[in-house]
């Protein structure tokens, strides 16, 4: 009997088993290892292809961006909120934000995978579920961490969603990428009673489990009125095609905040 006819079901069974159990701890640990190796390889290549001075300059500029973003968020918190509301903010109202600057060593926005790899990991204090931003806005969320690298799920990922609020009239919605173009996403669950209009800025809210409020998500590009909900298209604040450095926010929403379903 032809050996290939025996091998075919065997190999297919192993492959299907790997697909079925992709999210289990041993395979996730293997993925973390592959992230580490792959990032290291990409970093070597980036190091060869980039000029040393430009790289230093980029890092310095990124650090400056981090400081400016800290300052901007601090000022925004100070001026935009009333003192009464400040007393409820606790954790987020203190105006101190700290970021780690990281360089993107690999990115994939292809038909098979949407992710970013950054050159900072657990050794720099990065942990899962930390927010990743730029001065322009939210980039994504850390989903797995190796010692020196971390994998970031960008806003333009099928499984990514974040709560957003209109800066102008306070309309809430859930920002989700619907596939297709990488510069637009949809703000879902916006009630038809809302007066949201084109051009309004959408920011993150306190509802999020990983990102602080006030980080720009994008600008409303169009509103289609529906019977129950509006269909809101948002031009994303971050240009994913030009990302080279990001800031990882070490500060997360108040961990003491109980979930709504906690009795």
């Amino acid at each position: 009997m032809d050996r290939s006819l025996l091998l075919l079901p065997l190999y297919c069974a192993v492959a299907l088993w790997l697909i079925r159990f992709q999210q289990t701890p041993p395979l996730e640990a293997m993925e973390s290892l592959s992230t580490q190796i792959r990032s290291a390889l990409f970093e070597r290549i980036a190091a060869v292809s980039s000029f040393f001075q430009l790289r230093e300059q980029n890092d310095r500029l990124a650090l400056q961006n981090a400081m400016l973003l800290e300052r901007e968020l601090s000022l925004r918190n100070t001026f935009e909120e009333s003192s009464a509301r400040e007393s409820f903010q606790g954790f987020t109202g203190k105006g101190s934000h700290s970021f780690i600057t990281a360089r993107i060593v690999d990115r994939r926005y292809d038909a098979k995978e949407n992710l970013l790899l950054i050159d900072k990991g657990s050794s720099s204090g990065i942990a899962e579920n930390m927010a990743v931003v730029t001065p322009d806005g939210l980039v994504g969320r850390v989903i797995s961490v190796a010692t020196n690298y971390a994998k970031v799920m960008p806003v333009i990922h099928a499984d990514f969603s974040v709560s957003g609020i209109s800066a102008l009239n306070g309309t809430h919605g859930l920002l989700q990428w619907q596939g297709g173009h990488e510069s637009t996403a949809m703000l879902r669950h916006v009630p038809s009673s809302s007066t949201i209009t084109e051009g309004e800025r959408i920011l993150t809210t306190d509802y999020s489990t990983f990102v602080l409020r006030g980080i720009p998500l994008g600008t409303v590009a169009s509103v289609e009125h529906g019977s129950q909900f509006h269909t809101v298209t948002v031009d994303l604040a971050v240009d994913f095609s030009r990302l080279s450095h990001v800031l990882v926010s070490l500060q997360r929403p108040d961990p003491r905040k109980p979930p709504l379903n906690n009795k």
Partner: protein
Amino acid sequence: MPKKILSYSLVLLLLTLVQLLLVSRMSFMGITPDIISIMVVYTALRHGRTGAMNIGFAGGLLLGFFTGNMGAEALAKTIEGFVAGSIHLPEESHASASQKQRYFYKGLLIASIAGNTVTGMLLNAHLLPVPLNLFLTLVIGTAMTMLTGVIAYQLLLGKILTRK
């Protein structure tokens, strides 16, 4: 035999790195050429179906290890190896250079169609409707892989295959 396995493993590792580090940068609409498929077809032509499936499965696992899609890549490339196995030309076949070339292109075409059909159904990072994703992966993926295959054959594989 162990020497042959070692040399094929090294070539596979090298091609996987080239696929990840260089070829993946040449994407069109998020789809890239697949040089592992070219190796699978080359193996099918020289060593038959079993060898092609072994290379396909190992190459798929290796590529998937780095991309996070081990199962899908291994499945696609195993099926590519199985399908491409139909073009096996034994060394004693005395096939002419043009016959070998024709067999290689034919094998690459059917293997690429089979592999892209599997990945088009299993992997859809851009969240396109499944039929559209399948269509784009099939048409663009197969075209890009064929183009790369033609270049690889003209530059290198043709010389190896027709060497006496």
